[in-house]
Amino acid sequence: MNSGIITNLWLIPAVPCAASLAILSLSNARRKSAAVLAVIGQVFALGMSIFAFLPTLQTNSFRAVQNFTWFTFGDQALRLGFVLDPLAAAMLVMISLVGLCIFIFSIGYMAGDKNFVRFFAYLSFFSGAMLGLVLANSLLLLFIFWELVGLASYLLIGFWIERPSAAAAAKKAFITTRIGDMGFFLGMLWLYKRSGTLLFYDGGSGCLESAGLATLRASATFIALLIFCGAMGKSGQFPLHVWLPDAMEGPTPVSALIHAATMVAAGVFLVARVYPLFSLGGINGVTSSLTVVVWIGVTTALMAALIAIAQADIKRILAYSTVSQLGLMMVSLGVGGVAAGIMHLLAHGFFKALLFLGSGSVIHGCQGEHDIRKMGGLRRLMPVTFVTYAVGMMALSGVPFFFSGAWTKEEILRATEHWPRSHAPYFLMLAGVVLTALYMTRQIIYVFFGNSRVASERAHESPRVMTMPLIALAVCAIFFSVVLTPAWPWLHAYLRGEPAQFDVARLIQPMVFVSLVLVGAGIGLGIWVYRKAGAQDRQRSAEIDPLEYAQPALFRFLANKMWIDELYGRTVITFSWAAARLSDWMDRYFWDGLVRGFGAVGRVFAMLTTSVDEHGINAGVDETTAGTRGLGRLMSKAHSGQIQTYLAALAVGMLALLLLYAWLG
């Protein structure tokens, strides 16, 4: 079985895709079969992922490559391939596991939706494309799946298509990521031109292997940065992050799966995958491209964390949190902590999915309300949701020892600390940790503590089908830390292809205490600031946030997402729309006018020649014509229209010929 799946890696993405096709062909009423098909597809994917995962444990730096020819053009072959290595295997398991939880959760969450069937088709399709993405052994294949997950994201964001806001958000997501993708595309072309292949690993001649890298030389920086554009778009890095918070217009399971756990992390995965390109020619692990990655990551992480503080929409807070965490991962990759970044990616996948699903459960309980200021007191009404949500919150905030997020975050901080170029990112990241704890505390106080307000009065616990995935993910979020602790950094070692050693002593590290202090500070600050917010009574649901009360200008700046959307609207969009109008105008009036001008000149010329013709050349011709016509009229008299006359003429003619013949001899 093991070897079987390794030689048939394509099956892993193919099964959910096939499930998607099957579901798409179902009628709208076949809800149950749709859900069953989707879940079965996902279970198969999970099973195969695990089977694919197992052999990677057996040897260090395991790598199985399967290349094949897609097509030949001219006499050249275009080859694609799948690769299975620890990075891919770990991603596979995470994606399919989180995916499965979310699929099950969706059955409950989407139960009332009339397009239930279509939803599962899209979801399965996404799952397949995402699995394909992590398995791709060719930048082209990766790009293909990259676009397909983008498509799935587009479809799912705009799933509630009758809402104009959802459609707008979908469009925004599509176009924004497409901007990044164009960079990616260009980078890919460049890479292809340089190395002559897009395969990552191809028995030594792939573009990520030494022979391939040698051909790149100086262009590697540009190629890497262009590819990073794609990652920026997909992973919501500044300045292309604007689509991700808007993407929360989609159903919550979608937000959980695509816009928290998997797809948005694809950018991070991409950078990790083509890391040799980024680090090519680096001194001490520092290259200009990686420096760009670090600073983009830092900017994103801090900016998003700040914005998250001032948001009122429960999902938007989580969305900004995602952006922030993705920034953190980018920083990690940029400073050289690839394994740390990926570990955080995996852990983040679990707890962020958990948080989103929790928020989904909350929204479901509150009849679709998103505004945290209208909730409150849900702690008692939705105990399971509360507990699991709290687990997620603590994992995200990085409460040490028991939660996976803490270990990975410390890993990242440790990597950042040792970045040779500058220490600023390190300190900024520490600030980020505080901010994370702060906004999560704010959210949980608003939602779960205090009295119940407008939206939470009739709230109820979600059905089992929704809470079970929550519990499962919460368990994952906690127990995942087992493989993350410095005492037994198994995952770290696995990703780096080294054997892991167990050493309890490493459990106690200075970073743990730094973290403890920072998180404690963040939570404490939160509790102190929002202590009253939880106790507000139901009449004052829309009251002023304590922070807004203290710093109204700053709060408005943050609440309006730093006016970045507006900035784009005034500049980029206006400019391009103007370009469009200009093009149209040019077409309609300038070019056409030019042509018509030529036409007018031609017409004037024609009139000139006509007059010359009529009065000069034509005069004599007219006379001749008149004469000819007169003659013709005369001759036409002979045509009496009487058939017998003609016949007689014929006969006389024949006679004449006869006589002529006789006369001649």
Binding site: R633, M635, H639, S640, G641, Q642, I643, Q644, L647, A651
Partner: protein
């Protein structure tokens, strides 16, 4: 007395002339057609006569072939011609060719 080719040709010429007479002298369109048919028949008679009096009539029987085709064509001609007479009659309420002279110059 054995008829020679000449006699046949003279009979055929007479037939032709009678046909011409009908076609030229009579005013009724059907007579004209009858006349034309007779002229064609005279031609056929010539074909057959020439074939019969040729030194080697069988290699191949050209005259007979020509006569056959000519008969087929004249049958077609008669059909179309008569249809035209009917149409003309329907349009102009006359079959007198003197009155059917719309094409005069």
């Amino acid at each position: 007395m054995t008829p020679t080719l000449q006699i046949f040709l003279i009979v055929s010429a007479a037939l032709f002339s009678i046909g011409l007479l009908a076609a030229l002298s009579r005013r009724h369109a059907i007579f004209i057609l009858i006349g034309i048919e007779m002229m064609l028949a005279a031609a056929n008679l010539n074909f057959i006569a020439f074939w019969r009096f040729a030194p080697k009539p069988h290699q191949p029987p050209v005259g007979v072939m020509l006569a056959l085709f000519s008969i087929a064509i004249s049958a077609a001609e008669a059909a179309v011609g008569l249809a035209m007479v009917i149409v003309a009659y329907r349009h102009y309420r006359t079959t007198n060719v003197d009155q059917l002279d719309q094409l005069k110059g």
